[in-house]
Symmetry: none
């Protein structure tokens, strides 16, 4: 079977000028690859008509599928639609269905449709509309000489929903793609190179039709196995066996499989075991609570948090003893133990966790440099503490410390 | 003066497969734009000889300068060098200076030079070597028919040092570049299309050498002016005057200029006026606190937060009256007023803010659909409340509500 190829085309000066990082095209690459479609080129051009038209023609020569993002806003610097009209040699006309969708969108937010918004419902007559459920610019699907071009808004969450719900299913119908099967193994608490060392023998034993990729992000590493074959069932069975072989080497770091992040896996465990959680977070400033509450249904097990950023609030609101703070400082094992126990008691939960550290850039001392963080877990059976030495970057420290707290919960929960 | 144009060409399967996000090209765009060089296209191709050669030829037709990253490693899937040799029709030969540099590099790290590493000192005979002070793969500078192509390693810190120290200075010598100046105007509390309506007369009056772009993200819109001219001072003065003309039309939505996000601007104001802040956040689950504490030095004005996620904690820890919750529910004006006032009193701060809403997907009632959010601001002079009707997406609602709270602080602060 010959492969189905795609080009990703991004339109907009903001990418060429470097004012935003293009994260859309990475997401699209992964989604297409999972659908058995091979991305062979990525192109970005600016808001210039001639550049956009050239890019359309060139891509049409090269690939089966062209996925275009950006340049669909209602303002005058958005040129994608006029260029598509030229390229496909048709007209721009108000699409009644699109108009009623965009009208409903504004109505649901209690706002009136302006003339500018109305123009978003104008579509080239030669395209099929792709509904945008969470935004005002519809997508557009074109076909000519066996080639497909789809234009989508550049707003990441709008593009992603459109791709997942409508475009990928339609592309899979339209083209015959090989079976590609992915298994994602989620790990936490170990860096990429250490993990790679631990599993090198396993990695070398992978058969040629199954490839491994390391996808590291802040605090965790995904292992993605990609297999190409004839049947999904066969590939799935083969990968299950491969994963079995991985457990003895790195099982303690594996928290799950597939899309669920650590906060979701922990949330599921808490709900299944009828356990409740409260958090006292200082240096992480709300980020642990944010991760926990980003999971739908988290109100079933998460009762609340206290963010005692100042010494005053640590003492008065949480109840940390002044002697502890004076003798050991806020960033200490003695303080973090009190914080975790106190929040658990005050909020009457089964589990309490706490963070305290020097996120940076200020606040460091010779003994406690930037990146020093204490975290603690407390339940009725035991209290567990951990000292972390992280980076010199504030944003990175907040994220790494938050992942470390989630991992501490995972490791310390009473066995079910 | 005609503009000097550049294309950024990235080589490597890892970008096409979506295994890494390409952050190099954003950095390069900014650096080139500051040097007066206009990036007109970005291209990524995989580790495939024919694709790479086509990309070289196409780029040479289009632009003055081609900047290539990636594909310079010592392994067999790295094809940039053999392709450059073909494209420029010359030979690959050990460059003695490069060999002594790479030998010294390995020696300084206490390692022996392997045969594979030795090959990194082999360069096309028709290029000029560009020294890599912190890595093993040298850069290469080619010139033909007035066009320049520079090949660099894809490792971000190696590429950046090479660009800053050697390549940008050399490009500025080689080409006569115009001055490019950017001004970014930050707005919040108004959507892209409404903003565009309000400022359309101003937009139409912009001179041809100054272009406007709308850069919307969740909850705020950046307006970017890009000017091309002879002197930075002249452009800066011209843009200042343009911004003055924007104030009467949209001044109330403008919170700042340049890179600082809203949480930084608010933080600066709080610090300058010696005001302290506390937060009671329910539906935003810690995200407002996270934004506030993501700013270095926020401990100067931010005292802490309470996240009363359950009814119990709203009553017991924050002190919301049971009658209020019973009569009006947690998502109501009566409750949000109490929450803002109570957190301000409990945490002894000048300002208290609060959020309570239905983030979704669960918890909705016919009167309070998903996306209903109440926010409040309280200081000793007044209490301000606002009801929001947001989207059906939990993640989006958390972010939009958090930006709305920051905007409410901005609008409600006592005049300085």
């Amino acid at each position: 079977m010959s492969s189905v190829t795609a080009e990703l085309l991004t339109i907009g000066d903001e990418i060429l000028y470097g004012q935003i990082v293009d994260t859309n095209s990475q997401w699209m690459s992964v989604a297409l690859s999972e659908a058995g479609i091979q991305v062979v080129r990525k192109t970005s051009v600016g808001d210039v008509e001639s550049e956009i038209l050239t890019a359309f023609s060139e891509a049409e020569q090269r690939v089966d599928i062209i996925l275009v993002t950006g340049g669909l806003g209602p303002t005058s610097d958005d040129l994608t639609k006029p260029c598509l009209v030229k390229h496909y040699n048709c007209e721009l006309k108000i699409n009644e269905e699109a108009l009623s969708e965009v009208t409903a969108f504004f109505k649901s937010r209690g706002r009136e449709l302006t003339d500018v918004n109305r123009q978003q419902a104008a579509l080239p007559t030669c395209c099929e509309k792709v509904t945008n459920k969470i935004g005002t610019a519809p997508g557009m699907w074109f076909e000519r000489n066996g080639k497909v071009l789809v234009s989508m808004p550049g707003v990441p969450h709008e593009m992603k929903l459109m791709m997942k719900d409508l475009i990928i299913p339609k592309l899979k119908q339209r083209f015959v793609t090989p079976t590609i099967f992915h298994q994602v193994i989620r790990t936490v608490g170990i860096g990429e190179s250490f993990l790679s060392d631990k599993i090198s023998s396993w990695e070398r034993s992978l058969p040629p039709h199954i490839r491994l990729a390391y996808l590291p992000s802040l605090g965790d590493v995904k292992l993605r196995l990609t297999g190409i074959g004839k049947s999904k069932e066969e590939l799935e069975k083969e990968m299950d066996e491969l994963v079995d072989g991985l457990i003895p080497l790195a099982g303690e770091y594996i928290f799950g499989f597939g899309d669920d992040p650590l906060e979701k896996v922990i949330g599921d465990t808490l709900r299944d075991r009828n356990l409740t959680l409260s958090i006292a977070e200082s240096c992480t400033g709300g980020y642990v609570s944010h991760l926990i509450t980003s999971v739908p249904g988290s109100s079933n097990y998460f009762m609340g948090s206290l963010i005692p950023y100042s010494y005053e609030i640590k003492m008065r609101q949480l109840g940390v003893r002044p002697e502890t703070l004076e003798q050991h400082g806020a960033v200490s094992e003695a303080t973090i133990v009190e914080m975790a126990n106190l929040v658990r008691a005050k909020f009457s939960t089964d589990i309490g966790v706490a963070t305290s550290g020097i996120a940076g850039p200020g606040g460091a001392t010779p003994e406690k440099p930037v990146g020093t963080v204490w975290i603690a877990y407390s339940d009725k059976h035991h209290t567990v503490t951990k000292k972390l030495q992280l980076s010199t970057d504030r944003g990175i420290n907040i994220r790494l410390a938050s992942t470390a707290v989630l991992n501490l919960i995972r490791q310390s929960l009473p066995k079910g």
